[in-house]
């Protein structure tokens, strides 16, 4: 395989993978397929596809200006390719945007519902108009292919006549939206990091777009010459290099002048943001400027490619930084620090691959360059011989077609097959099971921590209409404005008896206090009654509170840590009632808080009994 068809095979494979991944984006929505969050709603698709893409396509207007306005005819060899790149670039932007928008089928709303205050509205309109302009600029290349068709020839002639006005309008529109992409972020003074946030952001965006346009045209020229084994134009390359140096220096002066003027230079060496900044600056300015201006290597094609590519990378990185990565909220919340997901990168790569393939198509079939590349392999050199171990698929052209579609289909199929819908759908959901109430049927409570315990039967107490909430949660009665936590400072730490925090937090069960507590009653004396509501409420979720045939077969220590005391207080409260009616107890006046003082035997007896009856697997033992 020669270079170009190798490149094409890779692009077709990427396109196949992206196609399969792209489908998941529309089936499952943005949340599970991207790393976008409520904290960073804009990510790679906006930063790279849209902002990077628009800037990458800036080559179109820059070269058009040099060529047509400033009359540098010698740049002509690349002007068509630059305009084609811009045209395809903007289409890629639009396609990328369709993936990013939540409701892409509503994109036409921008034409109907107007909000001229919005920078995005302006960008949208400019891009739409400019896309049409680019189409007009490029149309002659397509039309001239059929000079014998009268109508087409007429249109061609007309377009040639209005060429200069079209180019000028194109430049005007480009100026606007290249800079307005920067204005988008003026609305985020509290989010965009101060190294990047500046009132002259639109100007910076415009200048860097020109830099990017120049370096991108270099990259594209060098890459296609390499792939099609074509000679570079040394004059063109040199002009681009020189203009790039000038523009990069202007950009550097603007960037650093602005940073120092605002006093943001104090932040240049602190924190994550500064690392991002210096990476960006090295790629954008340091590497290309060194390579472009060092004698000796600045004539070498490979070095030029490195320099130009580094410049492209740096400015795209700038767009990504401004677009979301260098936002204060993103940097501060390290837990959700945004980096693009596999899906996002794949789809962007797919969009770019598609654009590049179309670019190749035009290069091979239209006069984008002065002459079409001659691909030696496309010619049938000799009549193919049939051999037993080689299948003849047709001429090289046909073979290539078959090969590429094969690659596409296989890549698509394999990717599609390996995507698991349920995994994607459940991404980011913690399994929140309703925890089993761990009390079991019978609890053995060592209230006064003397090694002897009394048994406590859940079932029995339930039958006496005593509510779960009586023991498992309390509040300070008769108090309206004190936060529950003021007494129950342990409420938000995890207690074994009842995880209050989990029940109330929105990341857990998400219940309000008054799901269980009656807010009216909690004002007055009826407080204890108020949590009677809780009985049914607990059981709503904890259906298996009263373990019927559970298989707890281990002895475990379930100590009721933070609520132990509260619960013992409650035992006393209830048993006091019995005390009043039971004549023996009335006489003995026992210390109810120390149940096991008297009920020592209880422990031995009950536990033995339960063991004997093999009931212990239904109970929880507290040693």
């Amino acid at each position: 395989m020669d270079r170009i068809s190798k490149a094409k095979s890779v692009l077709w494979i990427i396109l196949g993978i992206a196609g399969a991944v792209g489908i998941t984006r529309f089936i499952f929505g943005l949340g599970v397929t991207t790393n976008l969050t409520d904290n960073t709603p804009w990510g790679f698709w906006i930063g790279f596809d849209v902002m990077g893409g628009v800037a990458l396509a800036a080559g179109g207007f820059v070269i058009a200006a040099i060529n047509y306005i400033f009359g540098n005819e010698r740049m002509h060899p690349i002007s068509r390719a630059a305009i084609l790149t811009a045209f395809l670039g903007y289409i890629a932007v639009a396609v990328g945007l369709l993936f990013d928008l939540g409701l892409p089928w509503n994109i036409w709303h921008m034409m109907v519902f107007w909000n001229p205050h919005s920078p995005l509205f302006e960008v949208g309109w400019c891009v739409m108009l400019y896309l049409s302009i680019l189409f007009l600029e490029f149309a002659p290349v397509i039309l001239e292919k059929w000079p014998e068709r009268k109508l087409l020839a007429k249109i061609h002639a007309m377009l040639e006549k209005v060429k200069i006005p079209i180019v000028i309008v194109g430049i005007m529109l480009s100026t606007l939206h290249q800079s307005s992409l920067g204005s988008l972020f003026l609305a985020m003074p509290f989010k965009l990091h101060p190294i990047w946030y500046t009132p002259i952001l639109p100007v910076i965006f415009f200048v860097s777009a020109i830099c990017l346009g120049l370096t991108m045209v270099m990259v594209e020229g060098l890459a296609t010459s390499y792939l099609y084994k074509k000679e570079e134009h040394p004059y063109v390359l040199n002009t681009l290099r020189k203009s790039a140096i000038v523009m990069l220096l202007i950009y550097a002066a603007l960037r650093f002048g602005d940073i120092f003027y605002r006093g943001a230079d104090k932040l240049l060496f602190t924190g994550t943001a500064s690392i991002l900044f210096w990476l960006e600056i090295s790629f954008t300015l340091i590497i290309p400027l060194i390579i472009f201006s060092t004698k000796g290597i600045n004539k070498k094609v490979s070095w030029m490619f490195v320099g130009a590519f580094s410049g492209v990378f740096g400015i795209v990185m700038n767009r990504l930084n401004v677009g979301g990565i260098a936002h204060v909220n993103n940097i501060a919340e390290s837990a959700t620090f945004y980096l693009p997901s596999f899906t996002e990168i794949t789809i962007s790569a797919g969009v770019v691959s598609g654009a590049v393939l179309i670019f190749f198509y035009f290069i091979e079939n239209f006069n984008v360059w002065e002459e079409k590349p001659v691909d030696g392999t496309l010619e049938v050199k000799s009549i193919p011989k049939f051999s037993s171990n080689k299948v003849y698929l047709g001429s090289t052209k046909v073979t290539n077609r078959i090969k590429f579609s094969f690659f596409f289909v296989i890549a698509f199929g394999v990717t599609f097959a390996s995507i698991s819908g349920s995994t994607i759908e459940n991404k980011g959901i913690e399994e929140v099971k309703v925890t089993k109430a761990r009390g079991g049927d019978t609890l053995i409570i060592d209230g006064n921590r003397d090694g002897f315990a009394v048994t406590f039967k859940h079932e029995f107490h339930k039958s006496k209409n005593i509510e779960c909430g009586s023991c498992h949660h309390m509040n300070k009665p008769g108090d309206k404005s004190t936060g529950c936590y003021e007494c129950h400072s342990g409420m938000y730490s995890e207690g074994d008896g009842f995880k209050h925090d989990w029940h109330s937090s929105s990341a857990g069960a998400g219940q309000s206090c008054f799901k269980c507590h009656d807010q009216n009653v909690s004002k007055g004396k009826g407080f204890i009654k108020s949590i009677k509501k809780a009985k049914d409420l607990c059981l709503e979720c904890h259906e298996d509170m009263f373990v019927k045939n559970s298989n707890i077969d281990k002895y475990e220590t379930f100590k009721t840590a933070s609520y132990a005391d509260a619960m013992h207080g409650l035992c006393v409260n209830c048993h006091e009632e019995t005390l009043k009616t039971d004549s023996t107890l009335k006489r003995l006046k026992p210390n109810l808080a120390n149940c096991s003082n008297c009920h020592k035997d209880d422990y031995e007896l009950k536990v033995k009994q339960m063991r004997g009856k093999k009931l212990m697997n239904k109970s929880v033992i507290l040693p």
């Binding site: 929505g29 409520d38 904290n39 920067g182 003074p189 204060v328 219940q511 206090c513």
Partner: protein
């Protein structure tokens, strides 16, 4: 203009407002997903109660007097009503999420898990109030301690000032009175718990205002893009003028050059002819 005053010192953190809001606005129970911020707001939670030491702070849309979300939405899906509530029209939205990026308080949330996602945020119960179903937002209505109350903005600011004067425990600042051009949801708090979550700026960078070229904290967000948006027509026309001018000059020069060349050529030819002759 209607507003909500939340007195942080009175909130007991019962989250009744959260549940009431969910009920009134038919919000889903929701599951904790990884794209949610730690502040409890999500497309299913339009208000949340944050705990900070021993204080609870309710978070919701501030209903700015000059909302950033309204000014940046390219299709005008968000707009401020006469009552002061900032509401959302999902039929217009195209899901660009610019509003989420631009809101200084980070309020609008997205239905990330849906293939047809919409923006969600507190709308001050505007629909229900306008329809006469309720006469005040569900959250203020249910609050057991009147920590959050509803009323005319002027009255509430007066009330807030009265409270600050009457009790030394209060911090002498009404959050939302002037921030980002003023908001309809205002807060007062005690001296021990200054609120910093109100803006990312003071919160995250911890630097005094007006440094590094940041705009004033009281400047409204629409103001920040105004200059850039205003210079759009002049920039557009200016660029056109420059390009046309440049083209004209360059062409003229080329013509002159060409004429010179032609003249030279003619001369040369003549000379040659003369020479030949």
């Amino acid at each position: 203009m209607k507003a909500i005053l939340t007195d942080v010192t009175k909130c007991i953190g019962c989250a009744a407002c959260v549940t009431a809001c969910k009920e009134t606005n038919n919000l889903d129970k929701g599951k904790p997903r990884e794209w949610q911020k730690s502040d409890g707001l999500s497309s299913d939670n339009w208000t949340s109660v944050l705990r900070k030491n021993d204080t609870y702070i309710r978070k919701q849309c501030r209903h700015c007097l000059e909302p950033a979300c309204e000014s940046v939405c390219p299709v005008g899906a968000l707009h401020r009503t006469e009552s002061g509530a900032v509401v959302y029209d999902e039929d217009k939205c195209l899901g660009c999420r610019y509003c989420m990026m631009a809101c200084p308080y980070g309020i609008p949330r997205y239905e990330w898990d849906s293939p047809v996602p919409y923006i969600r945020k507190c709308i001050m119960c505007h629909d229900n109030i306008a329809a006469g179903i309720i006469d005040q937002p569900a959250c203020t209505n249910i609050c057991p301690t009147q920590a959050t109350i509803y009323g005319n903005r002027d009255d509430l600011i007066k009330e807030a000032k009265r409270r600050i004067k009457s009790d030394p425990k209060y911090l002498d600042h009404i959050y939302g009175e002037t921030e980002v051009g003023g908001t309809n949801v205002i807060y007062i708090t005690s001296k021990d718990e200054k609120l910093d979550f109100l803006t990312y700026y003071t919160n995250r960078l911890g630097d005094p205002e007006k440094k590094y070229g940041y705009p004033d904290i009281t400047q409204s967000i629409p103001e920040t893009t105004k200059i850039a948006m205003k210079s759009v027509p002049p920039a557009f026309l200016g660029m056109g003028a420059i390009m046309t001018g440049a083209y004209w000059i360059v062409q003229r020069r080329m013509k002159i050059e060409k004429a010179n060349k032609d003249a030279n050529k003619v001369n040369n030819d003549k000379n040659n002819e003369v020479g030949n002759g």
